[in-house]
């Protein structure tokens, strides 16, 4: 009986997870459980396997041992249902240089299965501090602005319960850090889960957090 209750509360979990790069073991016997409304923060030196862990959490990299589960089921059991609840933002912003900021955001949303009007996309871009840049091709945007376009997707991803973000605060200025922290806080308060890596101290006080040091 107690076993069942634990499963329902802990939505994202790993069991005995292990990652190898060649012969080197990056981490092993990793057991995590993250409840709704909490933040999973992955810490570690460069090359410690932070990105590998995040990629395993979303199923892009297969673990050499162990498994990842979502709502008590392995994530490989029903990929499409898991993907409906997931937003993953990796190192690369997934922007096409030849498309405008708005077109990029709309096609990323469509790929994630989110229906969205051009007006809502423009509002999300404006909230990300990109008002006036909607029609500019991504080619001419700065690194920070490209990051903001990718992150603007989060403002329209309330339905997705699990956000997995690889170094989301990279290349952002002070205003954008505050904006992103606000988005993350709202998502956590709504019962979502955020898994992220970051080298900076996070501007997220008073949130329930699980720390992993690799």
């Amino acid at each position: 009986m107690r076993e069942v209750r634990v499963r329902v509360r802990a939505v994202l979990a790993t069991h005995d997870l292990e990652a190898r790069r060649g012969r080197r073991v990056l981490f092993s016997r990793l057991d995590l459980s993250v409840a709704p409304g909490s933040l999973l923060r992955v810490l570690g030196a460069n090359g410690a396997g932070k990105t590998t862990l995040l990629r395993m959490l979303v199923g892009l990299t297969l673990p050499s041992a162990g498994r990842v589960s979502w709502r008590g089921r392995p994530i490989t059991a029903d990929r499409d249902a898991f993907h409906r609840e997931l937003v993953y933002l990796g190192h690369a912003a997934a922007l096409k240089d030849d498309l405008s900021a708005r077109e990029n955001l709309l096609s990323l949303l469509a790929l994630g299965g989110v229906r969205c009007e051009a007006g809502a996309a423009d509002r999300a871009l404006a909230a990300a501090g990109l008002a006036g840049c909607e029609r500019l091709p991504a080619r001419v945007l700065s690194a920070g602005q490209r990051r903001r376009v990718a992150l603007a997707r989060l403002a329209l991803a309330q339905e997705q319960r699990l956000w997995v973000l690889d170094e989301p605060f990279n290349a952002l200025d002070v205003d954008a850090v505050d904006w992103l922290a606000g988005l993350l806080r709202a998502h956590l308060q709504g019962g979502g889960i955020v898994a992220l890596t970051s080298h900076q101290p996070l501007p997220l006080d008073a949130v329930e957090a699980v720390m992993v040091r690799l």
Partner: protein, 220 residues
């Protein structure tokens, strides 16, 4: 819905980067024009070689644009987003291949009659040639997608891709060029077209799955 968005996005990208598409078409024209220079200008001889040359040139030209089918998406991170989309990956692959064929394969098919005229083919033969290319170039794109998926992120992907894919698409070449020759000889071409159609249906059904599996392996 998502697949349609991917299809339209790829078409828009192809339209904004017209140089890539045109390069393949110009390559097609140049390769097909080199043969008469090397083989001599005997009209009867060229008329007999024409269909085969056009088909081989189309095959090579369609391999030219193939490596970039997934490579660009892999480099900018879009491919990861495709793998994590709620829409099944084979469907997205099919959408990408469809857009790629419209931008490349269809263009080659439309240029082919001009080259066929250069070889002195008559109207009936040109019609058959275009029809075989219309059925055959999608097969090249679909089978090419499997190779492109397997060689994502590999150095020297273009050569490896051609080595993997060219042997697999020779049946399309044989029956495509064969149909034109059969028609010129007054024989029935129904068998050739049936086989080309069967190849297209089989490739359409199987290639997206194979390419999707290849992408998952390549990105792991």
């Amino acid at each position: 819905m998502t697949a349609l968005a991917v299809f339209l996005r790829d078409l828009r990208l192809a339209q904004r980067r017209r140089a890539d598409t045109l390069a393949a078409a110009i390559f097609f024209v140049i390769v097909a024009s080199l043969f008469p220079l090397a083989l001599g200008a005997d009209p009867a001889w060229l008329r007999r070689l024409g269909p085969g040359v056009v088909w081989v040139a189309a095959l090579l030209a369609s391999m030219l644009s193939m490596p970039r089918l997934f490579a660009d998406d892999a480099a900018d991170g879009t491919l990861e987003q495709m793998l994590l989309s709620p829409t099944p990956l084979p469907l997205l692959v099919l959408a990408k291949v469809g857009a790629h064929w419209l931008a490349n394969g269809l263009l080659l098919t439309l240029v082919a009659p001009v080259l066929a005229l250069q070889y002195g083919l008559d109207g009936g033969s040109i019609g058959i040639l275009v029809l075989t290319l219309l059925l055959g170039t999608p097969v090249l794109s679909l089978v090419g997608a499997i190779g492109a998926a397997l060689t994502v992120g590999v150095r020297g992907a273009a050569v490896l891709l051609s080595l993997l894919v060219l042997p697999l698409v020779t049946p399309a070449l044989i029956f495509g060029a064969g149909a034109v020759e059969a028609a010129a000889g007054g024989m029935d071409t129904g068998g050739h077209f049936s086989l080309l159609g069967a190849m297209l249906v089989a490739a359409m059904f199987l290639a997206p799955w194979a390419a999707a599996a290849g992408l998952r392996i390549s990105l792991d």
